[in-house]
Amino acid sequence: MPQAETGTTPPAADPSGVPTAAAEQGPAPDNPHAGESPMVRQQLKAQVIDTRPELPPLPTAPQPVLPGLPQIPQLVDTRPSPEPPARPHQPVGDPEREAPRGVLSLAAGGKIEPEPAARRQSVAAGPAAPAAAPPPQASPLGEPVVLIGNPKLRSEPRAFPEIGERVPDSIVDGGEVDGLIVRAASLRGDDHRHYAETRQDSFGLYAMTPVPGGPVFMAAVADGVGSETWSHIGSAAACRLLAEEIGGYAEAMLDPARENRLQDNCQELMDKVAGRLAMEADSRDLNKKQLSTTLVGCLFGPAAPVRRAVMFAVGDSPAYVLRARDFQPVFTVEQEEIASSGTNALPTQIGRVSVRVAELCAGDMVLLCTDGLGNTMRTPAVRRQLAEWWGEPGVPGLPAYFWQLSFRAQSYGDDRTAVCVWVR
Protein backbone atom coordinates (compact mmCIF):
# COMPACT_ATOMS: atom_id res chain seq x y z
CA MET A 1 0.00 0.00 0.00
CA PRO A 2 1.26 3.47 -0.66
CA GLN A 3 2.20 5.00 2.58
CA ALA A 4 0.28 8.15 2.40
CA GLU A 5 0.95 10.34 5.34
CA THR A 6 -0.80 8.24 7.86
CA GLY A 7 -0.82 8.32 11.59
CA THR A 8 0.18 11.55 13.20
CA THR A 9 -0.75 14.51 11.13
CA PRO A 10 2.06 17.00 11.00
CA PRO A 11 0.95 20.35 12.30
CA ALA A 12 2.95 22.26 9.75
CA ALA A 13 0.17 23.57 7.59
CA ASP A 14 -2.07 24.29 10.49
CA PRO A 15 -1.57 27.77 11.82
CA SER A 16 -3.75 27.05 14.83
CA GLY A 17 -0.74 25.91 16.79
CA VAL A 18 0.95 29.23 16.30
CA PRO A 19 0.95 31.80 19.05
CA THR A 20 -1.47 34.62 18.51
CA ALA A 21 1.17 37.25 18.31
CA ALA A 22 2.75 35.42 15.44
CA ALA A 23 -0.48 34.67 13.66
CA GLU A 24 -1.05 38.36 13.32
CA GLN A 25 2.00 38.61 11.18
CA GLY A 26 -0.05 37.14 8.38
CA PRO A 27 0.86 34.23 6.20
CA ALA A 28 4.41 33.53 5.32
CA PRO A 29 5.35 34.87 1.94
CA ASP A 30 5.37 32.20 -0.70
CA ASN A 31 8.70 33.22 -1.95
CA PRO A 32 11.12 34.40 0.65
CA HIS A 33 13.46 35.73 -1.99
CA ALA A 34 11.05 38.24 -3.36
CA GLY A 35 11.57 41.72 -2.10
CA GLU A 36 13.93 40.77 0.65
CA SER A 37 16.83 42.85 1.61
CA PRO A 38 20.02 41.60 0.09
CA MET A 39 21.13 38.15 0.99
CA VAL A 40 24.23 37.01 -0.61
CA ARG A 41 24.52 33.34 -1.30
CA GLN A 42 27.80 32.82 0.31
CA GLN A 43 30.26 30.45 -1.18
CA LEU A 44 30.51 28.86 2.19
CA LYS A 45 29.01 25.49 1.67
CA ALA A 46 27.52 23.73 4.61
CA GLN A 47 29.59 20.65 4.94
CA VAL A 48 28.14 17.31 5.72
CA ILE A 49 29.56 16.30 9.01
CA ASP A 50 31.08 12.95 9.20
CA THR A 51 28.26 11.24 7.46
CA ARG A 52 30.38 8.77 5.60
CA PRO A 53 31.23 6.44 8.43
CA GLU A 54 27.60 6.44 9.44
CA LEU A 55 26.33 5.53 6.06
CA PRO A 56 25.81 1.94 5.30
CA PRO A 57 28.48 0.93 2.85
CA LEU A 58 27.45 1.69 -0.63
CA PRO A 59 27.24 -1.30 -2.87
CA THR A 60 30.28 -3.41 -2.51
CA ALA A 61 31.45 -3.62 -6.03
CA PRO A 62 34.80 -5.25 -6.36
CA GLN A 63 37.28 -2.59 -7.22
CA PRO A 64 38.24 -2.35 -10.83
CA VAL A 65 41.21 -4.33 -11.80
CA LEU A 66 42.02 -3.15 -15.27
CA PRO A 67 45.04 -0.91 -15.28
CA GLY A 68 44.39 2.50 -16.68
CA LEU A 69 40.72 2.91 -17.12
CA PRO A 70 38.78 0.93 -14.61
CA GLN A 71 36.11 -1.48 -15.60
CA ILE A 72 33.16 -2.69 -13.72
CA PRO A 73 33.90 -6.34 -13.38
CA GLN A 74 31.48 -8.95 -14.42
CA LEU A 75 29.64 -10.53 -11.58
CA VAL A 76 28.53 -13.96 -12.50
CA ASP A 77 27.82 -15.66 -9.24
CA THR A 78 25.81 -13.09 -7.44
CA ARG A 79 22.49 -13.45 -9.10
CA PRO A 80 19.59 -13.20 -6.72
CA SER A 81 18.24 -16.36 -5.33
CA PRO A 82 15.22 -17.72 -7.13
CA GLU A 83 12.99 -16.74 -4.27
CA PRO A 84 11.61 -13.30 -4.75
CA PRO A 85 12.64 -11.09 -1.85
CA ALA A 86 10.17 -9.43 0.40
CA ARG A 87 8.56 -6.31 -0.94
CA PRO A 88 8.21 -3.96 1.97
CA HIS A 89 6.78 -1.10 0.00
CA GLN A 90 4.82 -2.98 -2.55
CA PRO A 91 2.55 -0.39 -4.05
CA VAL A 92 -0.90 -1.01 -5.24
CA GLY A 93 -0.67 -2.55 -8.62
CA ASP A 94 3.03 -2.50 -9.20
CA PRO A 95 2.89 -3.03 -12.92
CA GLU A 96 6.11 -4.97 -13.03
CA ARG A 97 4.28 -7.79 -11.38
CA GLU A 98 1.33 -7.84 -13.61
CA ALA A 99 2.96 -7.24 -16.91
CA PRO A 100 5.51 -9.89 -17.68
CA ARG A 101 7.55 -8.91 -20.62
CA GLY A 102 7.40 -11.71 -23.07
CA VAL A 103 10.25 -14.14 -23.05
CA LEU A 104 12.38 -12.08 -20.74
CA SER A 105 10.16 -12.31 -17.74
CA LEU A 106 10.60 -14.28 -14.62
CA ALA A 107 8.29 -17.19 -14.49
CA ALA A 108 5.70 -16.97 -11.77
CA GLY A 109 7.84 -19.11 -9.54
CA GLY A 110 10.73 -16.73 -9.94
CA LYS A 111 13.05 -18.85 -12.06
CA ILE A 112 15.81 -16.83 -13.51
CA GLU A 113 17.47 -17.59 -16.74
CA PRO A 114 21.00 -18.56 -15.94
CA GLU A 115 23.02 -17.31 -18.84
CA PRO A 116 23.27 -13.81 -20.14
CA ALA A 117 24.08 -15.14 -23.57
CA ALA A 118 20.92 -17.16 -23.60
CA ARG A 119 18.99 -14.05 -22.86
CA ARG A 120 20.37 -12.17 -25.75
CA GLN A 121 19.34 -15.01 -27.96
CA SER A 122 15.92 -14.83 -26.49
CA VAL A 123 15.70 -11.24 -27.47
CA ALA A 124 16.62 -12.10 -31.00
CA ALA A 125 13.89 -14.68 -31.09
CA GLY A 126 11.47 -12.40 -29.40
CA PRO A 127 9.01 -10.84 -31.78
CA ALA A 128 6.44 -13.57 -31.60
CA ALA A 129 6.49 -13.75 -27.86
CA PRO A 130 4.40 -10.76 -26.73
CA ALA A 131 1.29 -12.23 -28.21
CA ALA A 132 1.63 -15.11 -25.80
CA ALA A 133 2.01 -12.89 -22.75
CA PRO A 134 -1.06 -12.21 -20.68
CA PRO A 135 -2.35 -8.69 -21.08
CA PRO A 136 -1.27 -6.26 -18.38
CA GLN A 137 -3.91 -5.59 -15.80
CA ALA A 138 -4.92 -2.06 -15.09
CA SER A 139 -4.31 -1.05 -11.56
CA PRO A 140 -4.32 2.30 -9.79
CA LEU A 141 -0.99 3.52 -8.54
CA GLY A 142 -2.26 5.83 -5.83
CA GLU A 143 -0.14 8.49 -4.20
CA PRO A 144 3.63 8.04 -4.28
CA VAL A 145 5.12 6.09 -1.39
CA VAL A 146 6.96 7.86 1.40
CA LEU A 147 10.43 6.39 1.77
CA ILE A 148 12.08 8.94 4.07
CA GLY A 149 10.63 10.69 7.09
CA ASN A 150 7.26 12.35 7.14
CA PRO A 151 7.38 15.22 4.68
CA LYS A 152 5.30 18.22 5.60
CA LEU A 153 5.97 19.69 2.21
CA ARG A 154 3.25 18.70 -0.19
CA SER A 155 4.14 17.22 -3.53
CA GLU A 156 2.13 19.26 -5.94
CA PRO A 157 2.72 22.09 -8.35
CA ARG A 158 1.44 25.51 -7.31
CA ALA A 159 1.72 28.67 -9.38
CA PHE A 160 3.32 28.47 -12.81
CA PRO A 161 6.88 29.72 -12.69
CA GLU A 162 7.31 33.21 -14.04
CA ILE A 163 10.55 32.77 -15.87
CA GLY A 164 11.65 32.84 -19.48
CA GLU A 165 11.61 29.47 -21.21
CA ARG A 166 10.23 27.60 -18.26
CA VAL A 167 10.16 23.87 -18.79
CA PRO A 168 7.30 21.48 -17.97
CA ASP A 169 6.98 20.28 -14.40
CA SER A 170 7.92 16.78 -15.46
CA ILE A 171 8.76 14.83 -18.55
CA VAL A 172 8.77 11.12 -19.22
CA ASP A 173 10.31 9.28 -22.11
CA GLY A 174 11.29 5.78 -23.04
CA GLY A 175 12.24 3.55 -25.90
CA GLU A 176 14.02 0.46 -27.04
CA VAL A 177 17.06 0.16 -29.24
CA ASP A 178 19.23 -2.86 -30.00
CA GLY A 179 18.35 -4.75 -26.86
CA LEU A 180 18.46 -1.70 -24.62
CA ILE A 181 15.24 -0.71 -22.93
CA VAL A 182 15.13 2.87 -21.78
CA ARG A 183 13.01 4.68 -19.22
CA ALA A 184 13.64 8.29 -18.37
CA ALA A 185 11.91 10.93 -16.31
CA SER A 186 12.75 14.33 -14.95
CA LEU A 187 10.61 15.58 -12.09
CA ARG A 188 10.52 19.03 -10.58
CA GLY A 189 11.51 18.96 -6.94
CA ASP A 190 8.90 19.74 -4.33
CA ASP A 191 10.90 22.79 -3.24
CA HIS A 192 10.70 24.20 -6.73
CA ARG A 193 7.03 23.31 -6.91
CA HIS A 194 6.38 25.08 -3.63
CA TYR A 195 8.19 28.23 -4.68
CA ALA A 196 6.87 28.24 -8.25
CA GLU A 197 10.33 27.85 -9.71
CA THR A 198 11.14 25.90 -12.81
CA ARG A 199 12.79 22.51 -13.00
CA GLN A 200 16.53 22.78 -13.60
CA ASP A 201 17.35 19.16 -14.43
CA SER A 202 17.40 17.83 -17.96
CA PHE A 203 18.05 14.58 -19.74
CA GLY A 204 18.72 13.56 -23.31
CA LEU A 205 18.25 10.22 -25.08
CA TYR A 206 19.89 9.67 -28.45
CA ALA A 207 19.64 6.58 -30.60
CA MET A 208 22.54 6.51 -33.04
CA THR A 209 22.39 5.66 -36.71
CA PRO A 210 23.25 1.98 -36.78
CA VAL A 211 26.69 1.16 -38.11
CA PRO A 212 28.03 -2.38 -37.78
CA GLY A 213 29.99 -2.49 -34.57
CA GLY A 214 29.31 1.18 -33.95
CA PRO A 215 27.64 2.98 -31.08
CA VAL A 216 23.94 2.44 -30.66
CA PHE A 217 22.72 4.76 -27.97
CA MET A 218 23.67 7.63 -25.71
CA ALA A 219 21.93 8.91 -22.61
CA ALA A 220 22.77 12.07 -20.71
CA VAL A 221 21.57 13.72 -17.51
CA ALA A 222 22.35 17.28 -16.47
CA ASP A 223 21.68 19.19 -13.26
CA GLY A 224 21.55 22.94 -13.60
CA VAL A 225 23.35 24.58 -10.69
CA GLY A 226 20.64 25.66 -8.30
CA SER A 227 21.78 29.17 -7.59
CA GLU A 228 21.89 30.23 -11.23
CA THR A 229 18.71 31.61 -12.72
CA TRP A 230 19.29 30.25 -16.21
CA SER A 231 20.69 26.89 -15.29
CA HIS A 232 17.62 25.11 -16.68
CA ILE A 233 18.66 26.43 -20.07
CA GLY A 234 22.20 25.32 -19.34
CA SER A 235 21.28 21.77 -18.42
CA ALA A 236 19.07 21.31 -21.48
CA ALA A 237 21.70 22.80 -23.76
CA ALA A 238 24.43 20.60 -22.31
CA CYS A 239 22.48 17.44 -23.15
CA ARG A 240 21.71 18.69 -26.64
CA LEU A 241 25.25 19.83 -27.35
CA LEU A 242 26.71 16.59 -26.09
CA ALA A 243 24.55 14.69 -28.55
CA GLU A 244 25.69 16.98 -31.34
CA GLU A 245 29.36 16.66 -30.50
CA ILE A 246 29.71 13.02 -29.53
CA GLY A 247 29.45 11.73 -33.09
CA GLY A 248 33.07 12.51 -33.80
CA TYR A 249 34.23 10.60 -30.72
CA ALA A 250 31.78 7.79 -30.19
CA GLU A 251 33.51 5.11 -32.19
CA ALA A 252 36.91 5.80 -30.69
CA MET A 253 35.45 5.94 -27.20
CA LEU A 254 34.00 2.46 -27.52
CA ASP A 255 37.04 0.90 -29.16
CA PRO A 256 38.93 -1.26 -26.64
CA ALA A 257 42.06 -0.87 -28.72
CA ARG A 258 41.97 2.89 -28.19
CA GLU A 259 41.23 2.83 -24.50
CA ASN A 260 44.50 4.54 -23.71
CA ARG A 261 43.09 7.59 -25.48
CA LEU A 262 39.71 7.41 -23.80
CA GLN A 263 40.38 9.91 -21.04
CA ASP A 264 41.74 12.42 -23.54
CA ASN A 265 38.81 11.86 -25.86
CA CYS A 266 36.29 12.42 -23.09
CA GLN A 267 38.15 15.48 -21.91
CA GLU A 268 38.22 16.89 -25.42
CA LEU A 269 34.54 16.11 -25.90
CA MET A 270 33.60 17.92 -22.70
CA ASP A 271 35.79 20.86 -23.68
CA LYS A 272 33.87 21.10 -26.93
CA VAL A 273 30.53 20.93 -25.18
CA ALA A 274 31.71 23.57 -22.72
CA GLY A 275 32.92 25.79 -25.52
CA ARG A 276 29.58 25.64 -27.26
CA LEU A 277 27.73 26.15 -24.00
CA ALA A 278 29.80 29.28 -23.44
CA MET A 279 28.85 30.45 -26.94
CA GLU A 280 25.23 29.78 -26.10
CA ALA A 281 25.62 32.04 -23.08
CA ASP A 282 27.18 34.75 -25.24
CA SER A 283 24.41 34.55 -27.77
CA ARG A 284 21.89 35.05 -25.00
CA ASP A 285 23.87 37.85 -23.47
CA LEU A 286 24.35 35.86 -20.32
CA ASN A 287 27.33 35.33 -18.12
CA LYS A 288 28.83 31.88 -18.78
CA LYS A 289 28.33 30.85 -15.18
CA GLN A 290 24.61 31.50 -15.46
CA LEU A 291 24.33 28.35 -17.57
CA SER A 292 26.29 26.24 -15.07
CA THR A 293 25.35 22.60 -15.14
CA THR A 294 26.69 19.17 -14.37
CA LEU A 295 26.65 16.54 -17.10
CA VAL A 296 26.83 12.76 -16.91
CA GLY A 297 26.59 10.63 -20.01
CA CYS A 298 26.72 7.01 -21.03
CA LEU A 299 27.55 5.78 -24.50
CA PHE A 300 26.43 2.24 -25.31
CA GLY A 301 28.04 -0.01 -27.85
CA PRO A 302 26.40 -2.88 -29.68
CA ALA A 303 25.41 -6.11 -27.98
CA ALA A 304 28.05 -8.25 -29.66
CA PRO A 305 30.65 -9.35 -28.91
CA VAL A 306 30.25 -7.78 -25.51
CA ARG A 307 28.16 -4.77 -24.58
CA ARG A 308 30.53 -1.97 -23.67
CA ALA A 309 29.40 1.23 -22.07
CA VAL A 310 31.51 4.31 -21.53
CA MET A 311 30.37 6.59 -18.75
CA PHE A 312 31.70 10.07 -18.26
CA ALA A 313 30.83 12.94 -15.96
CA VAL A 314 31.57 16.50 -15.04
CA GLY A 315 30.25 17.35 -11.60
CA ASP A 316 28.42 15.40 -8.97
CA SER A 317 25.61 13.75 -10.91
CA PRO A 318 26.06 10.06 -10.22
CA ALA A 319 25.76 6.88 -12.24
CA TYR A 320 25.13 3.35 -11.04
CA VAL A 321 25.01 -0.12 -12.45
CA LEU A 322 22.21 -2.15 -10.94
CA ARG A 323 23.33 -5.74 -10.96
CA ALA A 324 21.90 -8.52 -8.84
CA ARG A 325 19.71 -5.94 -7.12
CA ASP A 326 22.73 -4.06 -5.97
CA PHE A 327 23.46 -0.48 -7.01
CA GLN A 328 27.14 -0.16 -7.78
CA PRO A 329 28.33 3.41 -8.01
CA VAL A 330 30.22 4.00 -11.21
CA PHE A 331 32.32 6.96 -10.17
CA THR A 332 34.37 7.33 -7.05
CA VAL A 333 32.39 9.08 -4.37
CA GLU A 334 34.24 12.09 -3.10
CA GLN A 335 34.69 12.67 0.59
CA GLU A 336 32.38 15.38 1.79
CA GLU A 337 34.06 15.74 5.13
CA ILE A 338 35.84 18.91 4.19
CA ALA A 339 34.27 22.00 2.78
CA SER A 340 34.40 21.90 -0.96
CA SER A 341 34.19 24.81 -3.32
CA GLY A 342 31.18 23.23 -4.93
CA THR A 343 30.78 20.76 -7.73
CA ASN A 344 32.56 20.90 -11.03
CA ALA A 345 30.27 22.23 -13.68
CA LEU A 346 30.18 23.13 -17.34
CA PRO A 347 31.08 25.44 -18.91
CA THR A 348 33.60 27.14 -16.64
CA GLN A 349 34.87 24.48 -14.26
CA ILE A 350 35.31 21.16 -15.98
CA GLY A 351 38.15 19.73 -13.95
CA ARG A 352 39.21 16.20 -14.74
CA VAL A 353 36.35 14.35 -16.42
CA SER A 354 35.39 11.16 -14.58
CA VAL A 355 35.50 8.25 -17.01
CA ARG A 356 34.64 4.59 -16.52
CA VAL A 357 34.14 1.68 -18.86
CA ALA A 358 31.72 -1.10 -18.07
CA GLU A 359 31.12 -4.39 -19.76
CA LEU A 360 27.48 -5.07 -19.31
CA CYS A 361 25.61 -8.30 -19.37
CA ALA A 362 21.97 -9.09 -19.81
CA GLY A 363 19.93 -8.08 -16.82
CA ASP A 364 22.17 -5.15 -15.90
CA MET A 365 20.66 -1.72 -15.65
CA VAL A 366 22.58 1.52 -16.00
CA LEU A 367 21.19 4.44 -14.01
CA LEU A 368 22.22 7.99 -14.70
CA CYS A 369 20.68 10.51 -12.35
CA THR A 370 20.97 13.84 -10.64
CA ASP A 371 21.87 14.13 -6.98
CA GLY A 372 18.20 14.86 -6.31
CA LEU A 373 17.83 11.10 -6.59
CA GLY A 374 21.41 10.12 -5.77
CA ASN A 375 21.38 11.77 -2.34
CA THR A 376 18.25 9.90 -1.33
CA MET A 377 19.94 6.64 -2.30
CA ARG A 378 22.26 6.94 0.69
CA THR A 379 19.25 5.77 2.64
CA PRO A 380 19.11 1.98 2.53
CA ALA A 381 15.32 1.94 2.35
CA VAL A 382 15.45 3.95 -0.86
CA ARG A 383 18.11 1.79 -2.47
CA ARG A 384 16.22 -1.32 -1.49
CA GLN A 385 12.96 -0.07 -2.90
CA LEU A 386 14.47 1.10 -6.16
CA ALA A 387 16.21 -2.25 -6.54
CA GLU A 388 12.86 -3.92 -5.98
CA TRP A 389 11.25 -1.86 -8.68
CA TRP A 390 14.08 -1.80 -11.15
CA GLY A 391 15.95 -5.00 -10.51
CA GLU A 392 15.29 -8.05 -12.54
CA PRO A 393 13.04 -8.68 -14.25
CA GLY A 394 11.43 -5.36 -13.97
CA VAL A 395 11.17 -2.81 -16.63
CA PRO A 396 8.27 -0.69 -15.48
CA GLY A 397 5.86 0.87 -17.88
CA LEU A 398 6.07 4.61 -18.29
CA PRO A 399 3.31 5.53 -15.80
CA ALA A 400 4.72 3.21 -13.19
CA TYR A 401 8.23 4.53 -13.73
CA PHE A 402 7.06 8.09 -13.22
CA TRP A 403 5.13 7.06 -10.13
CA GLN A 404 8.11 5.23 -8.69
CA LEU A 405 10.46 8.14 -9.20
CA SER A 406 7.91 10.35 -7.47
CA PHE A 407 8.52 8.71 -4.09
CA ARG A 408 8.44 11.11 -1.17
CA ALA A 409 11.46 11.84 0.99
CA GLN A 410 11.43 14.44 3.72
CA SER A 411 14.07 17.15 3.28
CA TYR A 412 14.95 16.05 -0.25
CA GLY A 413 13.17 18.70 -2.25
CA ASP A 414 15.53 18.87 -5.19
CA ASP A 415 14.63 18.07 -8.78
CA ARG A 416 14.89 14.38 -9.49
CA THR A 417 15.97 12.97 -12.81
CA ALA A 418 16.79 9.41 -13.73
CA VAL A 419 17.54 7.60 -16.96
CA CYS A 420 17.46 3.83 -16.65
CA VAL A 421 18.80 1.62 -19.42
CA TRP A 422 18.17 -2.09 -19.09
CA VAL A 423 20.35 -4.48 -21.04
CA ARG A 424 18.56 -7.41 -22.64
Partner: protein, 223 residues
Protein backbone atom coordinates in the same frame (compact mmCIF):
# COMPACT_ATOMS: atom_id res chain seq x y z
CA UNK B 1 14.82 7.93 8.15
CA UNK B 2 17.84 9.58 6.64
CA UNK B 3 16.87 13.17 6.34
CA UNK B 4 19.16 16.05 5.59
CA UNK B 5 19.24 18.26 8.65
CA UNK B 6 20.66 21.75 8.96
CA UNK B 7 20.70 22.79 12.64
CA UNK B 8 20.56 26.43 13.74
CA UNK B 9 21.50 27.70 17.19
CA UNK B 10 20.60 31.12 18.53
CA UNK B 11 22.90 31.87 21.44
CA UNK B 12 21.62 34.99 23.10
CA UNK B 13 23.06 37.20 25.81
CA UNK B 14 20.47 37.72 28.56
CA UNK B 15 22.69 39.47 31.06
CA UNK B 16 21.29 42.28 33.20
CA UNK B 17 22.27 44.92 30.70
CA UNK B 18 19.90 43.36 28.16
CA UNK B 19 16.85 44.19 30.27
CA UNK B 20 14.20 46.44 28.84
CA UNK B 21 14.08 47.20 25.12
CA UNK B 22 16.76 44.74 23.94
CA UNK B 23 15.31 41.65 25.57
CA UNK B 24 11.81 42.74 24.66
CA UNK B 25 12.82 43.07 21.01
CA UNK B 26 14.19 39.54 20.93
CA UNK B 27 11.19 38.16 22.79
CA UNK B 28 8.84 39.81 20.33
CA UNK B 29 10.77 38.36 17.43
CA UNK B 30 10.78 34.76 18.59
CA UNK B 31 7.11 34.05 17.78
CA UNK B 32 7.69 35.58 14.39
CA UNK B 33 10.66 33.32 13.83
CA UNK B 34 8.55 30.39 14.97
CA UNK B 35 5.81 31.23 12.53
CA UNK B 36 8.02 31.97 9.54
CA UNK B 37 10.01 28.79 9.92
CA UNK B 38 7.38 26.47 11.32
CA UNK B 39 4.82 27.27 8.67
CA UNK B 40 7.19 26.90 5.75
CA UNK B 41 7.21 23.20 4.86
CA UNK B 42 10.22 23.49 2.59
CA UNK B 43 12.28 24.92 5.43
CA UNK B 44 10.87 23.00 8.34
CA UNK B 45 11.49 19.68 6.59
CA UNK B 46 15.22 20.37 6.62
CA UNK B 47 16.08 22.68 9.51
CA UNK B 48 16.09 22.49 13.28
CA UNK B 49 16.28 25.38 15.74
CA UNK B 50 17.71 25.66 19.25
CA UNK B 51 17.76 28.63 21.62
CA UNK B 52 20.40 29.00 24.31
CA UNK B 53 20.38 31.94 26.71
CA UNK B 54 23.39 32.93 28.73
CA UNK B 55 24.34 35.40 31.45
CA UNK B 56 26.39 34.21 34.42
CA UNK B 57 25.21 30.76 33.40
CA UNK B 58 24.00 29.25 30.17
CA UNK B 59 20.74 27.42 29.67
CA UNK B 60 18.98 25.63 26.85
CA UNK B 61 15.71 27.52 26.51
CA UNK B 62 14.48 25.55 23.51
CA UNK B 63 16.09 22.21 22.70
CA UNK B 64 16.91 21.59 19.06
CA UNK B 65 13.46 21.29 17.50
CA UNK B 66 11.51 21.02 14.33
CA UNK B 67 9.67 24.31 14.70
CA UNK B 68 6.56 22.95 13.07
CA UNK B 69 6.09 20.76 16.12
CA UNK B 70 6.77 23.47 18.70
CA UNK B 71 3.69 25.07 20.21
CA UNK B 72 5.22 27.68 22.45
CA UNK B 73 8.40 29.68 22.23
CA UNK B 74 10.42 30.45 25.37
CA UNK B 75 11.21 33.97 26.58
CA UNK B 76 14.53 35.51 27.50
CA UNK B 77 14.89 36.96 31.01
CA UNK B 78 17.63 39.49 31.63
CA UNK B 79 19.75 39.17 34.75
CA UNK B 80 23.30 38.50 35.89
CA UNK B 81 26.68 38.90 34.25
CA UNK B 82 28.16 38.02 30.88
CA UNK B 83 30.01 34.75 30.91
CA UNK B 84 31.11 33.60 27.47
CA UNK B 85 32.78 30.42 28.72
CA UNK B 86 29.46 29.22 30.06
CA UNK B 87 27.86 29.96 26.71
CA UNK B 88 30.51 28.24 24.63
CA UNK B 89 30.71 25.19 26.90
CA UNK B 90 26.95 24.75 26.86
CA UNK B 91 26.85 25.26 23.11
CA UNK B 92 29.55 22.70 22.45
CA UNK B 93 27.95 20.13 24.69
CA UNK B 94 24.54 20.75 23.13
CA UNK B 95 25.76 20.53 19.56
CA UNK B 96 27.66 17.37 20.35
CA UNK B 97 24.61 15.71 21.87
CA UNK B 98 22.29 16.92 19.14
CA UNK B 99 24.48 15.82 16.27
CA UNK B 100 25.05 12.43 17.83
CA UNK B 101 21.33 12.00 18.41
CA UNK B 102 20.46 13.00 14.85
CA UNK B 103 23.10 10.72 13.42
CA UNK B 104 21.97 7.82 15.52
CA UNK B 105 18.56 8.31 13.93
CA UNK B 106 20.25 7.92 10.58
CA UNK B 107 20.10 11.55 9.49
CA UNK B 108 22.69 13.36 7.45
CA UNK B 109 23.66 16.34 9.55
CA UNK B 110 25.08 19.45 7.99
CA UNK B 111 27.43 21.76 9.79
CA UNK B 112 25.50 23.66 12.47
CA UNK B 113 25.08 27.41 12.16
CA UNK B 114 25.29 29.59 15.26
CA UNK B 115 23.90 33.09 15.59
CA UNK B 116 25.64 34.57 18.59
CA UNK B 117 24.29 37.82 20.04
CA UNK B 118 25.87 39.82 22.84
CA UNK B 119 25.70 43.36 24.19
CA UNK B 120 28.61 43.39 26.54
CA UNK B 121 32.15 42.65 27.37
CA UNK B 122 32.54 39.18 28.78
CA UNK B 123 33.75 39.12 32.36
CA UNK B 124 35.64 35.87 32.06
CA UNK B 125 38.52 34.34 30.15
CA UNK B 126 36.62 32.56 27.46
CA UNK B 127 39.33 31.68 24.96
CA UNK B 128 39.84 28.11 26.05
CA UNK B 129 36.13 27.30 25.82
CA UNK B 130 36.00 29.02 22.47
CA UNK B 131 38.91 27.02 21.09
CA UNK B 132 37.18 23.80 22.08
CA UNK B 133 34.06 24.97 20.26
CA UNK B 134 35.78 25.81 16.99
CA UNK B 135 38.40 23.07 17.15
CA UNK B 136 38.54 21.68 13.62
CA UNK B 137 39.32 18.24 15.00
CA UNK B 138 35.88 18.22 16.59
CA UNK B 139 33.81 17.33 13.58
CA UNK B 140 30.58 19.22 14.23
CA UNK B 141 32.36 22.53 14.90
CA UNK B 142 29.83 25.16 13.90
CA UNK B 143 29.88 28.16 11.61
CA UNK B 144 29.46 31.15 13.91
CA UNK B 145 27.97 34.49 12.99
CA UNK B 146 28.46 36.98 15.81
CA UNK B 147 26.37 40.08 16.43
CA UNK B 148 27.40 42.79 18.86
CA UNK B 149 25.53 45.82 20.08
CA UNK B 150 25.38 48.13 23.10
CA UNK B 151 28.65 47.85 24.98
CA UNK B 152 29.93 44.97 22.88
CA UNK B 153 33.53 45.28 21.88
CA UNK B 154 34.19 45.07 18.16
CA UNK B 155 37.33 43.05 18.50
CA UNK B 156 35.69 40.52 20.81
CA UNK B 157 32.73 40.01 18.49
CA UNK B 158 35.12 39.65 15.61
CA UNK B 159 37.03 36.98 17.46
CA UNK B 160 33.90 35.02 18.28
CA UNK B 161 32.75 34.90 14.67
CA UNK B 162 34.09 32.21 12.38
CA UNK B 163 32.38 33.56 9.30
CA UNK B 164 31.01 37.06 9.73
CA UNK B 165 30.66 39.62 12.49
CA UNK B 166 28.11 42.41 12.73
CA UNK B 167 28.42 45.42 15.02
CA UNK B 168 25.52 47.73 15.74
CA UNK B 169 26.47 51.11 14.31
CA UNK B 170 23.92 53.31 16.03
CA UNK B 171 21.90 54.10 12.91
CA UNK B 172 19.02 52.24 14.55
CA UNK B 173 18.00 52.08 18.19
CA UNK B 174 18.66 48.84 20.06
CA UNK B 175 15.12 47.54 19.63
CA UNK B 176 15.03 48.25 15.91
CA UNK B 177 18.50 46.84 15.40
CA UNK B 178 17.58 43.64 17.20
CA UNK B 179 14.45 43.30 15.11
CA UNK B 180 16.71 43.47 12.09
CA UNK B 181 18.96 40.88 13.66
CA UNK B 182 16.00 38.55 14.11
CA UNK B 183 14.85 39.13 10.54
CA UNK B 184 18.27 38.27 9.22
CA UNK B 185 18.23 35.07 11.26
CA UNK B 186 14.84 34.12 9.86
CA UNK B 187 15.94 34.85 6.32
CA UNK B 188 19.09 32.85 6.79
CA UNK B 189 17.15 29.83 7.97
CA UNK B 190 14.50 30.13 5.27
CA UNK B 191 16.98 30.62 2.47
CA UNK B 192 19.32 27.93 3.72
CA UNK B 193 16.43 25.49 3.83
CA UNK B 194 15.40 26.33 0.29
CA UNK B 195 17.15 24.28 -2.29
CA UNK B 196 17.00 26.94 -4.97
CA UNK B 197 19.28 28.95 -2.75
CA UNK B 198 21.67 26.09 -2.42
CA UNK B 199 24.66 25.51 -4.57
CA UNK B 200 24.01 21.89 -5.31
CA UNK B 201 23.92 20.24 -1.98
CA UNK B 202 20.20 19.64 -2.18
CA UNK B 203 19.12 22.34 0.20
CA UNK B 204 21.76 22.34 2.83
CA UNK B 205 23.87 25.35 2.15
CA UNK B 206 24.20 27.96 4.84
CA UNK B 207 22.99 31.23 3.43
CA UNK B 208 24.31 34.13 5.47
CA UNK B 209 23.21 37.72 5.57
CA UNK B 210 25.50 40.04 3.72
CA UNK B 211 24.31 43.19 5.44
CA UNK B 212 21.98 43.74 8.34
CA UNK B 213 20.40 47.18 8.74
CA UNK B 214 21.71 48.92 11.82
CA UNK B 215 24.87 46.82 11.81
CA UNK B 216 28.25 47.13 10.19
CA UNK B 217 29.60 43.93 8.66
CA UNK B 218 33.10 42.91 9.60
CA UNK B 219 34.91 39.91 8.28
CA UNK B 220 35.59 37.32 10.91
CA UNK B 221 38.95 37.30 12.52
CA UNK B 222 41.21 34.70 11.00
CA UNK B 223 42.49 32.42 13.70
Amino acid sequence: MSQQVLPFYLVCDESGSMSGAPVDAINQSLPELHYEIGSNPVVTDKTRFCLIGFSSKAEILLPLSDLSTVTQMPMLKASGGTNYSQAFDKLRETINNDVNALKSQGHQVYRPAVFFLSDGLPNDDWHQSYQALVDPVWRPHPNILAFGFGQADTQTIQQVATTKAFIANGTLGPAAALREFAKSLIRSIVNSGTSSAAEQAGGATLVMPDNVPGFTTIEADQV
